[in-house]
């Protein structure tokens, strides 16, 4: 137990060192913050208007009302912010690192390579997506006249963390493919394509797609599940299942990553 605690402390210390340098760099470009903020507001507006176009013609999408869908769009945006802040600038570079052989530098560090490729940098400005996304969700809840209980907020926190873990697992799994397909430089675009589906509750899709999003490509667990918890469509069962899916995803991608790493033949190979 003490060994685990020491390891966790060490990883935290490494993380602090990574991000301190990173933050100092990013803070030199404060105009990026304004641009990022404006971009976030623009895309949030577009997302809400998109939902409004559908709701001109229908009362509900998959049984969800307009403001329930808006709450989901807030979560969608927050998860997208997490992707842009942490996954794209780190895991997104695996392809490049494998192709150019700079993965050598990662492997030679006295840190777990998965940890290093996952958390080396953070694009701090994209936190605006996370904050404003969750703010939109909160606003939608007030329009629904719904104040979630402490229990529901806790369940949401778990489901949201599970969603981030699932997205992380999807990215790591996808980008690990780079060890086999070195020439494919835009692997991350596959995630962007699939993530488009997360803009709507899975119930709004035809049956076949719904099945795919729940069981095969776990889109349902990224935006539908956390939002469902907040709007009172099942709390603890949803959160617990989401956590289970997340743990399974993390374990599987860890194995896949290790298998992929075995294929790496270094810069000269």
């Amino acid at each position: 137990m003490a060994q685990w605690a020491a390891r966790a402390r060490r990883l935290l210390a490494v993380l602090r060192a990574f991000w301190a340098v990173n933050l100092a760099e990013e803070l030199q470009y404060r105009a990026n913050f304004v641009a990022s903020l404006l971009g976030t507001l623009f895309w949030l507006g577009m997302a809400v208007l998109t939902a409004a176009v559908f709701f001109r013609q229908t009362e509900a999408l998959g049984g969800w009302s307009f403001w329930e869908v808006v709450a989901l769009l807030g979560v969608f945006n927050a998860v997208a912010g997490f992707v842009d802040a942490l996954l794209r600038p780190n895991i997104g570079r695996i392809v490049e690192q494998v192709r150019e052989g700079t993965m050598d530098l990662v492997l030679s560090k006295p840190v777990d390579p998965q940890f290093h490729v996952s958390f080396r940098r953070v694009v701090v400005w994209r936190a605006s997506d996370i904050v404003l996304g969750l703010a939109l969700t909160a606003f939608a809840l007030t329009r629904l006249g719904r104040i979630p209980s402490i229990g529901e907020v806790a369940a949401f926190a778990i489901a949201f963390a599970a969603a981030l873990a699932i997205v992380y697992a999807l990215w790591l799994g996808l980008m690990s493919l780079a060890f086999w397909f070195v020439a494919v430089e835009n692997l991350e675009v596959l995630f962007d394509a699939v993530y488009e589906a997360a803009r709507f509750p899975v119930g709004a899709y035809p049956g076949a797609l719904r099945f795919v999003f729940v069981y095969l490509i776990p889109i349902a667990w990224i935006t539908t599940a956390p939002t469902a918890v907040l709007v009172g469509r099942g709390a603890w069962t949803v959160a617990a299942t989401a956590a289970g899916v997340a743990l399974l995803g993390l374990a599987l991608t860890r194995l896949f990553w290790k298998a992929a790493l075995k294929r790496y033949t270094s810069a000269g190979g």
């Binding site: 577009m46 998109t50 559908f54 998959g62 962007d192």
Partner: protein, 302 residues
């Protein structure tokens, strides 16, 4: 966000000294015929170069195609459920299916990644050797488009035909007049979208946020170009604004000519008229930005 990404990245190998090709034939006799032959030769060389680069990026291109169809497919799926057994303001399930298949095809054919390329040319100095060639870089971009879209659009049409064999909802009557009109609308739409993207890329002479502007343009096109719904399903005020801008003439109009939703002589004339107007307007914008930008570029880097 994702939808505004370039159609492909990487353009290595395009930088060889021979890529422009045909330039030396300039002295071979005068007259229109020789001029035409010269340009044919140049374009043949440029298209061949673009084609050869693309061959190296087959898998990457397949992934860009997947991204291109993701949003329309999911949007169609939602409308499919909303329409149910009935219809939405006259649009039944099959109408939505045909419309969004047409949107996917038109989007592919008019796809414009040029802003990402030009932005990089300018920021990283790759424009310099292009300026040293005896041919305007515009032609390289056009040839690139022809090489890429020749392949991807053909593939798309074949896939559509295969799906239509099993799924009656996406079948189109093969009326030669309508197809010819659709092709004309498509070519004009592609030209307009290309010029918007190219001119937007040239803004990199002044700002580092040219590609961010392209993403905003792409975001607005969700509504104004008919990518989220046929324009007739948007609030009338939005549809009216869209109708006088260039957006619908890049995607919605060619798509609706193809599906037959725009079929009356009056609507066709109006659509083609707007297409020609915006093509001329964006040509002027391009020329202005290009000449002024070059002057500034020369002043800074020269």
């Amino acid at each position: 966000m994702s939808a505004g990404r370039p159609a492909r990245t990487g353009n290595a190998g395009r930088d060889g000294p021979n890529a422009a090709g045909g330039g030396t034939a300039a002295t071979a006799g005068g007259g229109h015929l020789a001029g035409a032959r010269l340009w044919l030769g140049r374009y043949a060389a440029l298209i061949r170069a673009g084609w050869l680069v693309d061959v190296q990026y087959r898998a990457a291109i397949a992934i860009w195609l997947v991204l291109g169809i993701a949003q329309p497919v999911f949007t169609l799926a939602i409308w499919w459920v909303v329409a149910g057994e009935g219809d939405v303001e006259g649009f039944g399930r099959a109408d939505f299916a045909r419309y969004f298949f047409a949107v996917m095809l038109v989007n592919q054919a008019t796809n414009a990644w040029d802003v990402w390329y030009i932005d990089r040319w300018i920021r990283e100095g790759e424009l310099n050797f292009r300026l040293a060639r005896p041919i305007d870089p515009l032609h390289e971009a056009i040839a690139d488009n022809l090489a890429y879209k020749g392949k991807t659009v053909t593939l798309f049409v074949l896939v559509w035909a295969a799906i239509a064999a099993f799924w009656p909802a996406v079948r189109l009557p093969l009326d030669p007049t309508r197809l010819a009109l659709a092709v004309a609308a498509l070519v004009l739409g592609a030209a307009i979208r290309f010029l918007t993207s190219y001119a937007n890329g040239l803004l990199a002479f002044w700002t580092t946020r040219a590609t961010a502007i392209a993403e905003l343009h792409w975001g607005l096109s969700l509504f104004l170009a008919g990518r989220i719904a046929p324009l007739s399903l948007l609030p009338p005020a939005v549809a009216a604004v869209a109708g006088v801008l260039w957006f619908p003439y890049m995607i919605a109009f060619p798509a609706e000519v193809l599906t037959g939703d725009v079929a009356t002589a009056d609507a066709l004339l109006r659509g083609f008229g707007w297409q020609l107007f915006w093509l001329a307007a964006w040509t002027v914008v391009y020329l202005l930005v290009w000449t002024r930008g070059l002057r500034k570029y020369g002043a800074v880097g020269g």
